[in-house]
Amino acid sequence: MNAPGMNASGMNAPGMNASVLRVEHLRVSYDHPLGSVRAVDDVSFSLRAHERFGLAGESGSGKSTMALAILRLLRPPGRIDGGEVWLDNIALSSLSDDAMRRLRLAGIALVPQGSMNALNPVLRIRAQIADALGDHDMALSRSDLAARVRDLLGQVGLPPEVAEMYPHELSGGMKQRACIAIAICLRPKVIIADEPTSALDVVVQRQVMATLARVQQDLGAAVVLVGHDMGLMAQFVDRLGVMYAGRLVEIAPIAEIIAAPRHPYTQMLIASLPSLERKGMMQGIPGLAPLLRDLPPGCAFHPRCPQAVARCRTERPVLREVAGGIEAACHLA
């Protein structure tokens, strides 16, 4: 997966490192008997230190695939077939599997989707945190380990007794907090949270997201939040990337996206959200997301786009800067 123009050592581009995470021209495919399907197509974005970046899109847009690809956790038939991910100045593709494994948690960590299944049901929470620490050569004495576990649980707002509990004894919100505790145990620079609250009800969701925001600030880490809830994005992230059919179609500061979304898909994604202010504002997006194996020519969104013109049917729009800090892939933007 070596992209052209990168040297083999994995160290590159001095002076370009204001960002902690850079994704450059990432491509991911899934092999399939009917031909391989590109789930992430030429996606680039970067994450500044302390920044909260959102990746939004419908199911099948490639957002979760991208999260797994960044962590090199994709399993066949999925594979990365181009591009590079940089964590500080380390090219992740240059690392051995073992080096990558050591970098996970220590440099970049995942808070998984639906933590119902992410924890080991037959181990106490203490043992699961100890596993993560032990796997990264943190040889701690028994009492140091106990103190570290207590400290981590405290950071995510869980009482110390939780250490001795099994996952089934915890509520959904507590399990998600336990997952956050594991994710932050080695103080990573980047936390990738893949729909961390999709299985929780709104009151608990708010508490878990507040916890995530606080630990992120304490660590000085950056966060990538993957999800489809534009309300959650509006309240949590600093910048948002919107994905459609495997491509980024818009990237902008969140306030810009809420105030003046440039891409018609982003506009419709926001309009599809039910409002508590006014009735009758909720509109669906007509049609269905396209099959990745059979994308329409031109702009992939044009069959569902109410604003499409002739050019949209033939020429694929590229992501370009349309105003300061705002990029959109639309001929009309």
Binding site: S59, G231, K279
Partner: protein, 336 residues
Amino acid sequence: MTLLLEARHVTKYFGGGLLDRDSTVALEDFSFAIDSGRPSITAIVGESGSGKTTLARVLLGLVAPTSGTVLYQGRDLHALSGAERRNFRRDIQAIFQDPYGVYNPFYRVDHVLTTPVARFRLARSRTEARGLIEDALRAVGLRPEEILGRFPHQLSGGQRQRVMVARALLLRPHVIVADEPVSMVDASLRATILGSLRQLNQERGISIIYITHDLATAYQVADNIIVLYRANVAEAGDVERVVKAPQHPYTQLLITSIPQVSTERTWLNEQPVAQRIAPGQTGCRFVERCPVAMPVCQTMPPPLSRTEPRRVVACHHHPDPAGAQQNVLADMFVES
């Protein structure tokens, strides 16, 4: 006047009976009524474990209440004759959460549509049956040629859920009980499916009971709302009033917890702080989490008070101006 569907003081315990200490209260003293003369959409909103799915199953006659009765056209569901039961099965339709689990993967989608037509003898010929099915599919915004003859895995979740709405529609019911019909479909499709439900209500006079954890979609589709908290009604009434001016602290908490698409970012701050009051066995269910709990809340369950003509609240902060009344909830929805 005979009510179409009515729940009278329905209580449901799981595991053991009324006196069993280990039993779980799923629904407590719930009363509700639907009048066929005025088709409406009622949303039943609550978090996991609030009893909303139990309520759906009780109303559908799928579980028997521990105490209290459910009546269909004035007759107890458990005393219906064969023919009456058949009418009930046809008149009250259900749509469930999972648009994957309800299909048999080995049968074409047509199967879920042809079965009720045959079972209830809705058509005299194949052609007539085909016509009915195609009309039902069109009514929910599907193109029959894209749906019929396919297998379930060839349709999207949104399409499958709309086929379930079409199936319910085939039987020309008076009531559809929809239990979380959109929680498993994409946000962009939710609006379309809920729009179909709204349309069935307005154009065909079908009453809809929309059960959900999502207060925002409830506000968008419903006329009335019932907020459940741990097996009890916290607040109920006209959806516009309840959402715009919530009176129960739990409803207030629910509303402020929804992240809004807005450039105002206040959602992560201002977490309401609950007063640390030990949970009372006898008091208000919400007392442990309530920011405005009083000593009386620990010892006495708050009665439902009618604070407005079309609103009831179970909170000691809102005593009933007219004094305690029987059956305020059921009355509220059927009185004109």
